[in-house]
């Protein structure tokens, strides 16, 4: 089946992409850039770098802008998906939704309206196994936003590795943080994945942090050959 991945730049959409490649043909990505930093659906730090991620995997990316007003952004998502149908004849859409009924319901409805399949291959995934898989499979994932207590600014820009995961598990057990950040407690950016033919080298970033809220905005990045 010809599929498009809804790409946010974070680990979940890229791992969903990884799974979709194993069963179907991922023809393109769709990335919705929202001007609204409070958007429930789309806003993530470094959304502007999704085009580079798609390039790293050798797949075209449709970048569709939205002002991010609550219901209008769903219309804009629908238009972005329609562009993928017209340009690449996709038959279905893949999302990285894990627990969010809010997001899943809306994307399912849009796909139904357009006549597309909708797949959520991370739906209710075992979160601890998933996080270990990300590390063991060689995904290079960085924390690019924290939005909950008790995250401090030292988390920003950290790579997800066994040490960080140990700390996250501790947070999830003591502070009710969703291990995968599905509750919006933290955001991520993927610089490399097993199916990327090049990796993204991060040269510089601006960090801001205040009262358990912080972002790591990448200001300079480029593609480079992967080390063998």
């Amino acid at each position: 089946m010809r599929l498009a991945v809804l790409l946010s730049g974070g680990k979940d959409s890229i791992f969903a992409w990884y799974r979709a490649m194993k069963t179907d043909d991922v023809i393109c990505c769709i990335s919705i850039t929202s001007a609204n930093t409070e958007s429930y659906m789309f806003h993530t730090p470094n959304i502007d770098l999704t085009g580079m991620q798609a390039q790293a995997a050798g797949v075209p990316c449709i970048i569709h802008a939205t002002a991010g007003n609550k219901e209008e952004e769903l219309y804009d998502l629908k238009e972005g998906i329609k562009r993928a149908v017209l340009q690449y004849q996709i038959q279905g859409v893949v999302t990285g939704a894990i627990l969010s009924v809010y997001q899943a319901t809306r994307i399912q409805q849009i796909c139904y309206d357009i006549g597309l399949w909708c797949f959520n291959p991370l739906w209710h995934i075992d979160q601890k196994s998933y996080m270990y898989n990300l590390i063991n499979l060689g995904f290079e994932v960085y924390i690019t936003g924290v939005f909950a207590c008790p995250f401090d600014e030292k988390w920003l820009g950290r790579r997800i590795d066994a040490t960080l995961l140990h700390d996250l598990i501790d947070f999830s057990e003591r502070h009710h943080i969703t291990l995968t950040g599905e509750g919006g407690e933290y955001e991520t950016f993927v610089a490399d994945a097993p199916f990327f033919t090049e990796r993204i080298s991060i040269q510089s970033a601006d960090t801001s942090y205040h009262n358990y809220h912080g972002t790591y905005l990448i200001t300079s990045a480029s593609l480079e050959a992967k080390k063998r």
Partner: protein, 191 residues
């Protein structure tokens, strides 16, 4: 041993992760041994105490194209739980029909059962996640167990241990699976 049946349009599809694996994960956490089988494959229920027919993607109704693959249900005496597409299968096997009425998202559900040992007996009112293009007219051989508005969203067969839910219990209602496992464990008429 529980047998999970994957009702998706093809074996090892992307839907497996969304509709089969979450049920498998819940059973693993409950320490319930289980196997997984694709619906078109010939299967052997020997040693199986219960069966769960898993759901499918919203666009996937392939399972109704070859109902002969479900002829084993009529000769089985083990408890069977049909989830969404699975409830549609059970309804068709029991003589029911399907009609198009897409439902997507969380729905308010009222249980018609009250007993702690009944499938829907633990909660009178709750929200359930539904994702289907078709609903089923409940056949006369089945009894409604829960409703959402005027729709029947849970049923059981009057003489066989067949249970169906149109909502997905793996989403916020894992207790339904706990209840089904209890029903399986207390069923004395094993395969």
């Amino acid at each position: 041993m529980i047998s999970l049946i994957d009702l998706s349009y093809r074996p090892e599809s992307l839907s497996y992760y969304e509709f089969v694996l979450p049920i498998s994960t819940i059973l693993m956490h409950l320490n319930i041994s289980h196997t997984i089988r694709y619906w078109r494959e010939e299967g052997n229920l020997k040693g199986t105490q219960g069966c769960i027919l898993c759901g499918t993607a919203l666009a996937d109704n392939e399972f109704v194209s070859d109902m002969s693959r479900f002829s084993w249900i009529a000769s089985s005496s083990i408890p069977i739980l049909g989830i969404c597409a699975g409830m549609q299968v059970l309804s068709l096997v029991a003589g029911g029909t399907l009609k198009e009425e897409p439902i997507i998202g969380m729905q308010e559900i009222t249980s018609l059962e009250t007993g702690p040992y009944e499938l829907m007996g633990l909660h009178k009112q709750f929200s359930g996640f539904e994702l289907h293009k078709y609903i089923t007219d409940i056949p006369s051989s089945c009894t409604p167990l829960a409703i959402s508005g005027e729709r029947v969203v849970a049923m059981r067969h009057q003489t066989r241990p067949w249970y169906g839910v149109m909502f997905h219990p793996e989403v916020r209602n894992e207790w339904v699976l706990d209840q089904f496992i209890m029903i399986v464990s207390t069923n004395t008429d094993n395969q």
